[in-house]
Amino acid sequence: MSRRTTLPPSLALLPFLGFLTIFLLIPTVTVVVGAFQEGGEFSTANIEALFSEAALRTLWNSVLLSASTAVIGAVFGSLLAYIVVMASPTSLFRRSVTSMASVLAQFGGVTLAFAFIATLGFSGVVTELLRDTVNLDIFGTGWLFGLPGLILVYTYFQIPLMVIVFLPALEGLRPQWREAAVNLGATGWQYWTQVAIPLLRPAFLGATLLLFANAFAAYATAAALVSQGNPIVPLLIRAALTSEILLGRQNLAFALAFQMIIVVAVVMTAYALLVRRTSRWLR
């Protein structure tokens, strides 16, 4: 046998690592570095601009939107997941709801905005129906195209996402635990408040955080729905990218994107910690 120089097997990972460095890590580093620069030099001006009144108001709107849709999605999503989990795992009902939920959770963007414009817009189907039948003007002054509209529209993908994320935890609640509790004399109420809810709480909170991050970073739906003003952070980033100079800062887009990384990273880390806690009993 001839001896030949053998390359270490890890060398074969280079194309993958190189690709991700160029198209994921460098853009991320660019954002972080750019946030602390202005005109090619170190500056905290852009970070300070994040604390201006206009930027803070936008951040507050984004938090309000993400938190409210996360809570609404978590409550109604877990309720639907509970209804689903009561049905037999092989039933058509359960299979179709879980399939539908996995589709609708991915269903966002421009399509979703148009779906609601076709429903509740000025000449939307429901708007015209209510106008013709009970003479009610549900369109009003165009609330659909502002923050209240965004809350309604985001709920449409948040509820199905909650169903998908929370269903495994509900499925993991073993009937034996309920039987054990009942055998020890617990009422249904006691079982829920002292066994099931404490067990499910980390999973529920974790899923809510995931929903929050999901809404906070969503862009397409809002961009298609809201064409006037920049009520939330993703739209402020759009304005900063397209108009180059906003609030008098060139690198504001970097600072806003940096802010988004921080918020999402903090929320997702908390999510990962809560998931780890659930996985202790979930198999």
């Binding site: 097997p9 890890s10 074969a12 990972l13 194309p15 993958f16 690592l17 690709f19 991700l20 160029i22 198209f23 994921l24 460098i26 853009p27 991320t28 580093v29 660019t30 954002v31 750019g34 309720l79 639907l80 209804i83 009561m86 399939s99 539908m100 996995s102 589709v103 609708l104 991915q106 269903f107 966002g108 963007g109 421009v110 399509t111 979703l112 148009f114 779906a115 414009i117 076709a118 429903t119 939307g124 189907v125 449409y156 509820i159 009937p175 249904g188 970073a217 862009y219 397409a220 961009a223 298609a224 993703p234 980033i237 970097f254 806003l256 994107a257 988004m260 990384i261 999402v264 990273a265």
Partner: protein
Amino acid sequence: MTSTPTWRVTRALLLVLYGLFFIVPLYAMLDFSTRSTQGGRTGEAWADLVRDPTLSSAIITSLLLALFTVLGMLLLLLPTMIWVRMRVPGATRLIEFLCLLPLTIPALVIVVGMRNVYTWVNYLVSDSVYTLTFVYVVLVLPYAYRAIDAALGSLDVVTLAEAARSLGAGWLTVIARIIVPNVWSGVLAAAFISIALVMGEFTIASLTNYENLQVVINFLGKSAARTSVAASLAVLVFVFVLLMALSYVGRGRRGAERS
């Protein structure tokens, strides 16, 4: 579990409310896109999908982008993941972390930071819309990774590889003819979810001024609302069918695993 009459009524009522909330917007799209300005029904907006040159070319652009993304993703990810399982198990954590990273770094952040990289891409490769493939591969990575990882997990890659090697197969043969045919369901699932994501992608294309399907649909929304709603619904149905098929592919595999 308890199934009192009150609970059954409540459940039925809740399901009707959920059903209304999720089905009415979809029905509204169909109704809105087939309405005629003179009253009555018309298929004009739907005919525009093939008649309108901007729209039909955007459909082709997005389909091609989806195809290139799937090819790029498979070329980059599949050999790497198999190789890690076979030869460098120590890198499993690193690869997983990198693949799931795009979940924490939103597309919006990537688009803000990628201007430098794309200046070079446009200079060295081309400035066509299809260069979006590169960043789309990153975008679909977490979902594709999970699909392929689940399929690989149900397989004893190391033993299979050793068996094939001892019979004289080279590494390429092992990957292409032994491992890949065994993880076909995972590959299919990864491809489906990638197509679905690319067909719906708007954020990156619109902020880099490229015209993919969603950008054109959004643009048409201002001039030809009915056409854009028809196109939205068409894409939705397409993606719906893909993801439904995906949920059956996944189920078939899991079922086989259990038996």
